[in-house]
Symmetry: D2
Subunit: 278 residues, 4 copies
């Protein structure tokens, strides 16, 4: 499937400010960039860095006071793999690749140590692997209200579990937290997403099952095949689309994600979806 | 300087349990292993992994029910570099190596986002680089009571800041938190330490200054040259000496760290100390 | 029913310390003191105060350094009323006595504001009045592990809800929190309790229903008719059996509660129980 | 001094909602009502209750769906007492009136148990009584930013201490917390206040010293003699100007407080001010 996406940001800078943007789509795994453009106006020098281990792409620049506009546009081919449910077991911890184990530990927004007792009581006996993580997502969908404005940048899974309201980022954090508590590596995914209303950046998560990372979205807001990965990380703390050091303000971002070459209506899958290379 | 260290652990395993030990000293940077032995009795198969990026050394094994004894002994040559104060500036964020930037983000035990306002008020105007991080350590030493039993494995810097009591791990978390809040990359260091009373694992932290990682210990419990690094990480969540999945109990660990070939009393330095390669 | 109870406390005082004890049983409502004695050795002057609104009985004394023993013994007649379930509705807020309304507000250990969304989702549709509070107690019993040592004096209902473990005090706090969130006044009750193993002070709660305070115990550890009230309050913050200002230590307290004149085995009720006057 | 005050509220009610208003000024102590009017339009039946122990005045009504306007206007004579500093000592706990002791305990927004170590370290050695509470207020003023929008209705003193930003209610909660931690009874005061910009309800606190309640305002936003008490309580949880059970929305409230009969500029006192009866 092919997608066209567009992201427009505008910033007013009051003092010299270092800005790190992470809005460019990943180009590894099952996601290829057909074409893309990243523009800042007025023009500034920027430094690019693609993390070898994750594929995250950072753009760093030092902005002097003034108003800046940033555009990122891309055409992307995504060829997610799908597999039939039931065949994707949890990997015993003793067999996990060592570089995946980092995703078992609690992190800033995912205090899996604190929610372990609940996770075992609620999900300990339910299925295995993909089925268990699906049960986690169902529980979140049924027990947490999706409510704009109910959380902020300091809200963690611990809070969301108690307050029972949040947005996509909070849903992802809670899913990651339960998975880790049960011994399943899980990581945060920031993404562009088809059919998200209103259009915005999206946050979902991946769990490592059967030797591969699979996508999960407890919000049920868009089809998994329409997820275009920007960054992966332990949680939103290290996967933000914008990090800045200085002073910055601006109007809301504008995001647009469209599908290309679609003559017929697609039947979206309900089967496991992965964007991993293999 | 040469050291001999010994670590004895004993575990009673009730159900099949995956154990990951991270007790072996690092062998990169300015720390060389002259000799070492890692023994488990009864003998079990174990898998070793040394993380390329950090030098952390993991030992993973699946233990069947029973009683196990673990010994790790090593002779280590440490040649820390020292430098004169004042010459070590904070690196502007726009010039930081990208792989160091991860250590600017808040983590499970180091909510630098929540303590930013305090950090800027308290330390914003104090010196630069090494001087600023030293001011952080002094503040912690003067404002937090070192008190065994005052914290547990869920205690974070946010709690320690309010409760004003903690142990070495809490002191390190608070130092890391303030440094990150001020734009200085900082990471957790688990270590063996000379002259620690009572002898135990120790926790300190490193801050990235002037292009290198420098050691800091807000507890003032032992000389910086007597620190022998085991693991580095974002915080104690990913740098534990023991992680297990299953059921495990046991008597207290026994640690012993001695200095070798010491005919004269050493004058410990008060200058910046680094164990980094360059 | 008649009970004999005995409470032995021993304190070592290091500096002049003001001690407020609240161990004497209430003597209002459906609880009469047949005889009692309160002794401190060595003898000290103490001041008594019985709160008109609650019946709580305080004993305040200034202790000079030394070792003190405190005994409280009493014979008590308790004549709780029982009523058949289903007939006890929630009182509309507009009809609540004003002096009961204080027990609708969140307090130190009962953050009913933070758990309101969950409470309404979980219990909003279940029954009315007594039935609803019973559903709350059942949920706590089924979802929280009773585990000595899993909480401390700073643990609140917010923590217990997430950690899913606690002791009697935590069970009471969580019950109070849910009830208040649903508009039902609820208060903390510290008590002596028959058949509690091991014998100790107990904590339960009362909810205001149908114009009267009814007892609830989510721990299911002892019969409601065996509850002998010491103090009521918003939560454990203002209902402690011991409050002191200074330095105090001592061995564990000894509590003993026995039933008198019992020739036959009692069939404990499962019906609503109240110790209120009317 | 005489004041005229006016409070206008407007509410849109969607479902039958019980509303409890606490906007009428206290009429005991050193505050007399010269004239007042409370009006709701359209007219509804309301029930009044003045708490004997505190003087708080509640107005309770059941509102059916619709739009309501509420006006409260009053002319008030306030004759606060002032005393010279230094003569107001802390009351030893063993001598406190028992009905004041409730204000020593931690409450929903004032976790004095958690901030005790800091309070003793910071204020333990500073002065006595009034001087100590003044030091608390100075510390808050100097260390916490007054920042609209930095807190919400769930923000407690524990949060404010760490985040270092808040509004009047948070400043009052922090002052109460430190005072209680040091053994000084303290309570929350909601008030009308002269010269507050923008005009709004205000929150300050009272500490019990030398046998009387004294006013403190760590925000320094208005003169203490211009404080007109509405309610006192343990904290904002039981002293809100509005509590409702149901659904309610509406535009911002309008408050106006003016001084009457003022021909000359007043020199506001910096001395202790009390509105207590004696």
């Amino acid at each position: 499937m092919q997608f066209r996406l567009r992201c427009e940001l505008q910033y007013d800078i009051a003092t010299p400010t270092t800005v790190i943007l992470n809005v460019e789509a990943q180009r590894g795994g099952r996601q290829s960039i057909l074409g893309e453009a990243f523009t800042v106006e007025p023009q500034v020098q920027s430094e690019e860095y693609e993390v070898p281990e994750t594929g995250n792409r950072y753009r760093r620049m030092l902005l002097q006071p003034g108003r800046y506009s940033v555009w990122y546009t891309a055409e992307i081919e995504s060829t997610p793999t799908t597999r039939s449910i039931g065949s994707i077991p949890q990997v015993p911890i003793v067999e996990l690749p060592f570089d995946v184990m980092n995703h078992l530990y609690p992190s800033r927004y995912c205090q899996s140590d604190k929610l372990a007792r609940f996770a075992w009581r609620q999900f300990g006996e339910i299925g295995d692997g993909y089925e268990k993580v699906t049960a986690i997502c169902n529980w979140i969908y049924e027990n947490v209200d999706y409510l704009e404005g109910s959380s902020d940048s300091s809200t963690s899974a611990y809070d969301t579990f108690t307050l029972r309201a949040g947005v996509c980022r909070d849903f992802a954090h809670l899913g990651i937290t339960f998975a880790r508590a049960l011994g399943i590596p899980a990581r945060f995914v920031s993404a562009y997403a088809l059919d998200l209303v209103p259009q915005d950046f999206h946050a979902v998560f991946e769990a490592y099952l059967g030797g591969q990372w699979y996508l999960f979205d407890a919000t049920r807001l868009c089809p998994l095949e329409g997820i275009l990965k920007i960054a992966v990380g332990r949680d939103a703390a290290d996967s933000a689309f914008l990090t800045f050091f200085g002073q910055l303000s601006g109007p809301p971002k504008l995001i647009r994600v469209e599908r290309l070459n679609t003559s017929q209506t697609t039947q979206w899958t309900t089967e496991p979806v992965s964007l991993s290379a293999i």
